[in-house]
Symmetry: none
DNA sequence: TTGTTGATTTCGGCA
DNA sequence: TGCCGAAGTCAACAA
């Protein structure tokens, strides 16, 4: 990653045409070849940029000033005319490790594992998270107040595939005499109408969970310790 | 603007929960108080960020390591745990004079308004841009060589909604005895196959316009004066 | 590869 | 101030 602070003017010709008058800005050249131009405001959006794949050529214009030309395959061009370089440094960062975001789904699972009563009543108990089956792990396996087994599939957005997935788990789990009869709960922040119809048609109960409320309860409990 | 290259791990708790394992990254602190964390790829979007208004506190965690805590009014928190600082520099940038940009759709409309023959033949005349109807303005209303009214919908990318929109306008315009019969032209830099099929099925003619060529003609004409 | 959809969307216009 | 729609949307995922 190369960081350049420079007085520069910038022109972009591509999907639109844009011009930045001469001013001091940060020019960020990343290892993937992308270039972005930042002002000292707007947290996240560059004033101008070129997404990879693209190539950067350093040269001079007719007047002898430094001119960076960034082009991509589509013929879009970002021209950075540099009047004065105030800082220029390069840094080896390496590849950023794997997954960036802890998705909501994992966190939802965690929260529901701590508060299974949200799925039924205060008598509900968690048996296991990621309960293993031959066709993959069930998100949660619980016991309801009556002691009956319940398989829970958790999604951020509940769509038809999630119902299908839970259906397959239920079919398998119900072959186990120690568990059967196993009922199903389909829990999501949002459940699509088609998914709900399919689920209910198969006797699977749908629960729309309130992520913020779950987290709130979680935080409140955490504060007790 | 402060540029810090550091080995760090990052946690964000706010609208969602996210975690970035220890790695070398760029931490960008802007004059508006915003903080963003960049990896060595993706021109546009940081891995994590906090938009202004927010406040940055530098401290140490229990283990004595450097811990930056960025918070905003909504209670969202960005925690940056710094294991090693590889670079740290600050720069005065001043206020950016701002971006001058030409939107494509508006510009396309302007160019086609100047060159309606592109949509038909040299006999075409523009009646009005943004021709008002009860359900919104039609981009262009023209008269063809035979004097018949033509409603023109302009998009950068022609998709189905654009065809639906034009269809609604045509239905309305055709109720006006001073205009009827009104035909339709769907003009875009790029027209999706599904949109084309729908349009042609409804008797709407599709015109793919060459933005650069239009602009070229425009520039050439401008040069005459 | 193409299309669809969500996003810590951001950003602007307009009522 | 809030809704609605576009964005050089970007980016992830499904078909």
């Amino acid at each position: 990653m190369r960081l350049v602070i420079a007085r520069c003017s910038v022109d972009y010709v591509g999907r639109l045409t844009a011009h930045l008058p001469l001013a001091t800005r940060l020019v960020l050249v990343k290892a993937d070849g992308s270039v972005s131009v930042h002002a000292d405001d707007r947290a996240y959006k560059p004033l101008n940029w070129m997404s990879p794949p693209c190539s950067l050529a350093e040269g001079t214009d007719e007047a002898g000033a430094i001119l960076w030309t960034v082009t991509n395959k589509a013929g879009e061009r970002l021209l950075i005319s540099i009047a004065e370089v105030l800082h220029d440094s390069s840094h080896e960062l390496g590849v950023d490790p794997g997954l960036v975001k802890d998705g909501v789904e994992a966190h939802l699972q965690e929260l529901l594992a701590e508060q299974p009563h949200v799925l039924g009543d205060d008598g509900w108990r968690l048996v296991r998270r990621e309960y293993a089956t031959a066709i993959g792990p069930v998100d949660l396996l619980c016991r309801d107040s009556a002691g009956a087994a319940v398989a829970v599939e958790i999604k951020r957005r509940g769509e038809i595939d999630g119902v299908e997935q839970l259906t397959r788990y239920l079919e398998l789990l119900n072959r186990d005499p120690l568990l059967a009869p196993v009922t199903g709960v389909f829990a999501a922040q949002e459940i699509k109408p088609q998914a709900r119809v399919l689920a209910e048609d198969r006797g699977i109960r749908c629960v729309v969970v309130d992520y913020d409320a779950l987290r709130g309860v979680d935080d409140a409990e955490a504060r007790l310790f």
